[in-house]
């Protein structure tokens, strides 16, 4: 035993006698994680969160979250002598006076964009591969919660500098709160400490931004990761991979090195973006005043779809008994997003209700093998994209020499027409891909080699695909739709006829598939 081993041994002994950690470590150091690039998306989000904590803490050392009015006397000449809030002035100081301050601000903002973008793409990966199915519904809901909080956190974060652009965003947020029936004015007065903008809002959202929400993130991310750990990661189908096993690399040393290394890569790339790509140059916008606004006001991208929905809303207000209901705000800013996020959170339960599938799933779906789910996903993305496009309608109009009216009407019609169209096209594409898979298994790969037969006919030589590939293309289950006849076996009419009818119908739509190639099919072809 070397001296080093002796020291390590006695430290380990000390800890283990007090915690019993060895038992747990023994089991978990050799834990196996499956490998796939798409499993890195969640990691990117986690690492961005750490980068946000580090860079955010740095910024708090100089940022002064106060709406107290000061006269700017820093080194940025165009704004010298101008009245502004201490929040804005200290943001300018971080950008111009603190060495490395601008870099950290830009790293913080870039990693916030990557944080939310990473969550969205991670969510898409989980959705399209069916990773949310039993037993992972809890983690899906936590994930939707994290996304929602992430959007709020990002909005509060870019509102803090109190520049003209972000102040306009707060103005809009206040109008949304105020539009709530009955309690709107009360909530707005409570949030802002009186009439907009007051002097209370920046300090308050600062506490929420640096303490409350990060605390919630820490708690939720911890539970999210513990569940991933305990339930073990899902894996893509392939030879040797089953519902009962996990095929991959052990935590020690391979995953430790890869995941740890990946953190540094994400941090490095974010720092590179912070160094070369200017983001949110608040000194160009000037301090916030309610009487001014910049043309082409744009929120960060993850709020753009919401702004786009608000922009395309019809000018509807109701006046009932002397009270006002602003449908033009309530529908696009609260009702539609509410429905979207609730539907998103409930999707695992809706799908399992439709399919009647209550079993555990650890093998991921190939998106083409769940055409209905894939089509629904693409439909939702299309909806969001139309909304996002309309959120940038002024920028698009000036860039592509269109009028805002053209884009607005495109969006107003497109938001209803394009998503269903995307659904139909995607579903058909999925079925075509299934058909191609079947062809490939049964008739092999086209080699491009033409051969002339003795009787003069030209044929292309097909080469059989490998057994591994054939397995990949045929391993999935094809579950028949739920049998929910109106009358049960003994001829008694089932209760809830309408619900059952709807469920049976959706189940049929969900089960649509091209029959996969079977061993029998192959035998038939060989005998042919």
């Amino acid at each position: 035993m070397t001296a080093r081993e002796r020291i390590a041994g006695s430290v380990a002994n000390y800890v283990d006698e007090r915690t019993g950690a060895a038992k747990w470590m023994k089991k978990n150091l050799t834990k196996v994680f499956p490998d796939h690039w798409s499993f890195l998306l969640g990691e990117i989000v986690l690492y961005s969160f750490i980068i946000l904590l580090l860079s955010g803490t740095y910024l708090t050392f100089w940022f002064d979250p106060s709406q107290r009015e000061v006269i700017y006397d820093g080194s940025y000449e165009p704004l010298q002598g101008i009245e502004m809030s201490a929040a804005y002035a200290s943001t300018l100081d971080i950008s111009f006076e603190v060495r490395g301050g601008l870099l950290m601000r830009q790293i913080h903002h870039w990693s916030a964009l990557i944080f939310v973008a990473g969550m969205v793409v991670h969510l898409m990966r989980v959705y399209f591969t069916g990773a949310f199915r039993k037993p992972r519904e809890f983690n899906w809901i936590i994930g939707v919660g994290l996304l929602t909080l992430g959007i709020v956190e990002g909005f509060l974060g870019y509102s803090l500098p109190d520049d003209l652009l972000s102040g306009t965003g707060i103005r809009i947020a206040e109008a949304i709160i105020q539009a709530l029936p009955v309690v709107g004015s009360y909530l707005a007065f409570f949030a802002f400490g009186g009439a907009f903008p007051g002097e209370a809002f920046i300090p308050r959202i600062y506490t929420v931004h640096v303490l409350l929400l990060p605390g919630a993130f820490l708690a939720l991310i911890t539970v999210h990761l513990m569940l991933v750990w305990y339930q073990k990661h899902t894996q893509y189908p392939g030879p040797g991979r089953t519902e009962k096993n996990v095929v991959g690399y052990p935590l020690l040393p391979v995953y430790m090195a890869k995941a740890g290394g990946f953190f540094f890569i994400v941090f490095g790339v974010t720092a590179f973006l912070g160094a070369v790509a200017s983001i949110n140059p608040v000194w160009l916008f000037g301090p916030y005043t309610p009487a001014q606004v910049t043309a082409g006001s744009q929120p960060d991208w993850y709020m753009g779809w919401l702004d786009g929905l608000v922009r395309m809303a019809p000018p509807l207000e109701s006046y009932i008994f002397g009270y006002t209901i602003s449908w033009n705000i309530l529908i696009p800013a609260l009702i539609v997003p509410g429905i979207l996020f609730t539907g998103l959170a409930l999707y695992p339960f809706i799908e399992s209700w439709i399919t009647g599938d209550k079993r555990e799933h650890h093998l991921l779906d190939r998106p083409r093998n769940a055409p209905n789910r894939t089509a629904l996903g693409v439909m939702s993305i299309t909806f969001m994209l139309v909304a996002l496009i309309n959120g940038g309608n002024d920028i698009i109009a000036t860039t592509f020499d269109l009028t805002i009216n053209q884009i607005m009407w495109f969006s107003r019609i497109g938001i209803f027409v394009l998503p269903p169209l995307a659904f139909v096209i995607t579903k058909r594409l999925c079925l075509s891909l299934q058909r191609a898979d079947r062809e490939l298994v049964l008739h092999g790969r086209e080699t491009g080699r033409l051969v002339m037969m003795p009787h003069g006919e030209f044929v292309e030589v097909h080469e059989p695909i490998s057994p591994e590939k054939a397995w990949l293309l045929t391993q999935h289950e094809q579950v028949p739709p739920l049998a929910l006849e109106e009358h049960d076996a003994s001829g008694v009419r089932r209760p809830k006829a309408l619900t059952n009818k709807l469920r049976a119908r959706m189940s049929r739509a969900h089960a649509v598939a091209i029959p996969k190639a079977t061993a029998e099919d192959l035998k038939q072809i060989e005998n042919h």
Binding site: S75, S185, F189, S297, Y323, T324
Partner: protein, 330 residues
Amino acid sequence: MSNEIEPLKDPGLPAHTPRRADIDPLAAKKAERQVAILFLLSAAGTILLIASYLFIPQDVFIFFPVLGSTNAHQLFLGLGLAASLFFIGMGAIHWAKTLMPDEEVVIQRHEFRSPDEDRAEFVKSAKEGAAAAGLGRRSLIKRTLGLSLGLVGLSPLILLGDLGPLPDEKQKMTSWKKGTRLVTDPGDRPIRPEDLEVGAVAQTLPAVAPGTHRKLSDIAKDAVLLIRLRPEEFNLDAERLSWTHEGIIAFSKICSHMGCAVALYEQQTKHLLCPCHQSTFDVTRAAKVIFGPAARPLPQLAITVDSEGYLVAQNPFNEPVGPSFWGRSA
């Protein structure tokens, strides 16, 4: 449940093919050197970071294609930091991929569902615990506990009461009074009609006593836009026409949709456009909404001139300005 038909056979995990570094000590040595070089690059990055911090002054700007004129201090600080982090990551991953074992390992999953006896045991202990506490039997305790917990839950709401005042009638009012002068923003100069040419726009606020500090929450309701047209261009009823003065018409600058400043005036079409959500108002028809999500015209301020010939408000706004709210009567 589905596979009554015979599926294809799972060929099982493919055999492991060793990498070059696994069989060739020279290749392994080479990989080791590559990892070391990557780590050294990271060290060089940190040195660049330190050197930039110490030696590059903060006011040096250099020109780069694509980036444009860039602050050299921030740029090299950032590039140093980026390199120092990035190459640690690259080194670690290259190490893992070339030198650490790459044979896939298989472990078995366990079922999450607890065994039946554990479940039964749990139910038994839970029931015994509840019975021991006697919550079911002692309904008086149960009800009073429910009451007190419910009331305790209310206390944060009570304690947060001072977050803000309750909205009152002031929410519906602005600082404009009968005879308040319109002054330029910025500049605080009173305006005579002849200061505005036809087609001109002026941003104004109500005059305050010299030295008074305007609160942003007042500006958020008081901002008014003056626009001068030719009087014959108006398409207004008699009352609204009487609110204008020599072709000058005044509107609240705060959008009736979500409160942004309605800052874009198209002189040709005489439209006012809000840059936030593109609500468009027709100036000639008392700011009627002609496009976009706003549901109401911009409130019009009645103006005239005082004895010294300066523009003043005839009356306060006759409706609340800014976005709608529940208590706002139509």
